[in-house]
């Protein structure tokens, strides 16, 4: 497994999350003058996007992210995105957050699977970052943060060999193995089959550096070509036009990782009867996770410093719904198959004295110091940094 996979996983999933949030915020926004106190406006949308992006690209957070380390568990990673999605005035119910995460992960799984060359995963990442820069084009400070990360990516990854990229790709594919949630935008575009598996085209341009299959060349012992033969297959491949750019600015050529959501297309996911493979995913969620307790302790510790912003409009003030209606969201929450629940542990920092005592006890037992350099607990330092922002 590659210890350099996490930054790519985090940034690409984050990019997909922003595409989806942007689309939903636009779909639900009301022109400024007509909006009631609890309705979204364009100004709110920009603010949410700015807040989330600036949290995501925080300098210390990025430094921590880029350190060689194993991938987080699925639970730990999901928690990171929960926090990220709530880095602003926006609130998401469990059902909407579940749906958001499903869409994000299936989209990136698709992109990794269809990457022509292992190193094209970098181009996919650059596509996401190019789009993110567009979202915050009028905030030079945040733009700077993103460019910094861009440069760090180029520095860390541009020199890696094909073999190392293939290892990264394999690490990602193992992370996404057996996930077959059906996404309606993929089903409609015939990019995903009804059994949840992605369509792998056997036509189109071959990767840069690969020849169109079909030619056999024979050489004699002096190295001179003496014979040519051809073979045919069902595939219908063509030569690629040009290579994508790995610079800070440039035409990436590859379309994977660009924003596939437009304002008018609602995106649904289908939960029922996905496939037999649910069994293996179910086992993963239900089996006791020895690290879950560790993660829970650290989450509790971080809550000491968490300052939860209560939306001014009241409890449901600035809630974003990933579904078309509130009823749909409620229905989705109730009918989500048990196997697919992410079992995210929700901890609320309330003012109840009993609760506070419990947290203090936990905090007291822990060594609340600066992040220990030798600690290998998944996600500890990263989560700490996120909440310190």
């Amino acid at each position: 497994m590659s210890a350099r996979t996490l930054p790519l996983l985090f940034l690409n999933l984050g990019g997909e999350m922003l595409y989806i949030l942007d689309q939903r915020l636009r779909a639900q926004s009301i022109p400024g003058e007509k909006a009631r106190k609890d309705e979204w406006t364009d100004v709110d949308r920009k603010r949410v996007m700015n807040d989330i992006i600036s949290t995501m690209f925080n300098k210390k957070f990025m430094e921590e992210l880029f350190k060689p380390q194993d991938l987080y568990s699925k639970k730990a990673l999901r928690t990171v995105y929960d926090r990220l999605a709530h880095a602003s005035i926006m609130r998401l119910n469990q059902a909407s957050m579940d749906k958001l995460y499903d869409l994000m992960t299936m989209a990136f799984k698709y992109q990794v699977l269809l990457c022509p060359r292992p190193r094209d995963i970098l181009l996919v990442t650059f596509n996401h970052l190019d789009a993110i820069k567009d979202f915050i084009s009028d905030s030079p400070a945040i733009l700077n943060q993103v460019d910094e990360t861009f440069r760090r990516l180029i520095e860390t990854y541009n020199c890696l060999s094909d073999g190392e990229f293939q290892l990264i790709r394999q690490t990602l594919l193992i992370f996404f193995q057996d996930m077959h949630i059906r996404v309606s935008i993929f089903l409609k575009d015939k990019v995903q089959n009804s059994n949840g598996r992605f369509v792998l085209p056997i036509s189109g341009p071959v990767p840069w550096g690969t020849e169109v299959p079909g030619l056999i060349r024979i050489f004699n012992h002096k190295g001179v070509e003496v014979k040519r033969a051809e073979f045919t297959t069902a595939g219908n491949y063509v030569t690629p036009q040009r290579e994508g750019s790995f610079e800070l600015y440039g035409d990436r050529v590859l379309k994977l990782g660009t924003n596939m959501y437009s304002v008018t297309r609602p995106v649904e996911t289908h939960m029922s009867g996905s496939s037999k493979n649910l069994a293996s995913q179910a086992k993963e969620n239900i089996a006791p996770n020895p690290l879950a307790k560790e993660e829970l302790n650290f989450l509790a510790r971080l809550l000491g410093g968490l300052d939860i912003q209560k939306p001014p409009g009241g409890e449901t003030g600035f809630r974003l719904n990933l579904f078309t209606t509130d009823e749909e969201e409620e229905h989705a929450a109730q009918t989500r198959p048990e196997e697919l629940s992410y079992k995210v542990i929700n901890i609320e920092a309330t003012q109840e004295p009993g609760r506070r005592a419990e947290l203090s006890r936990i905090l007291g037992e822990l060594d609340v110091a600066e992040p220990r350099p030798g600690s290998a607990e998944k996600g500890e330092d990263l989560l700490a940094l996120m909440d310190g922002l």
Partner: protein, 260 residues
Amino acid sequence: SQAAWCELPARVLLVLTSQRGVQMYEADGSTMVFWHALDVPELPAAHSVFARGIAAAGGRFVCVGTSFGAVLVFDIPPKGTNVTLSEVLEQHRDPVTDIAAEQGQAPDGAGDLVTADDSGTLCLWSTGEEFTLLGKIPGSGSTCSSVALWNGIVAAGYGNGQIRLWEAGSGRIRAQVSAHARWIYALDLAPLTGKLLSGAEDSFVHVWKLSRNPDTDDIEVQHCHAECVTDTQVCGARFCDPAGDTFAVTGYDLSEILCY
């Protein structure tokens, strides 16, 4: 992680590789015969540590590649657990991808073992008490992901979808095939007939026939058959018999083994 049967004259071992190192089991999986731990650093390093590439060689050795580029040579006794690390071959500067032993008859001067790495470099060896490096074929920019050796012909599959055939004795290239549109994951050879199987991420599995022209001594390769495993990236492909009449295929996200 990889698993491979290592068939030696005296016994058959099941060898497994992983990020921790190498494990060897009796053929029925009943006992672990031996394990060798790789030097794993405390904290994850930027460069991954793992063992990859397994082959039985020289009638008494099991060779395993590592991410350091070193090839570990284990001397296997006919019975029991007294396996020893006989030699460490340090010719590769990039992580080893695959190792293959001669499956037919090696012509004079040709080695009986080939090792491959991430940079596409191939090393040819003659096995024995001490292994000797007979030749090195430099890579040309593409990872050599899998390799096979038969009657002095090296068949190598690359990350850019090419299959190349090399003369083991001279190290010269004898054939170049634009075989696949994506990364080749697996190559297998049927020693009785010289059939070659290739499986890649482009969903295709191809069967080829290798032969030597007795007059010109040219190495020939013909395309015999193609199978498309719809919507599946092929990760493994193996002949089920030494003549190559049947073969089995595995793929990403596939919980089945397909037999053809």
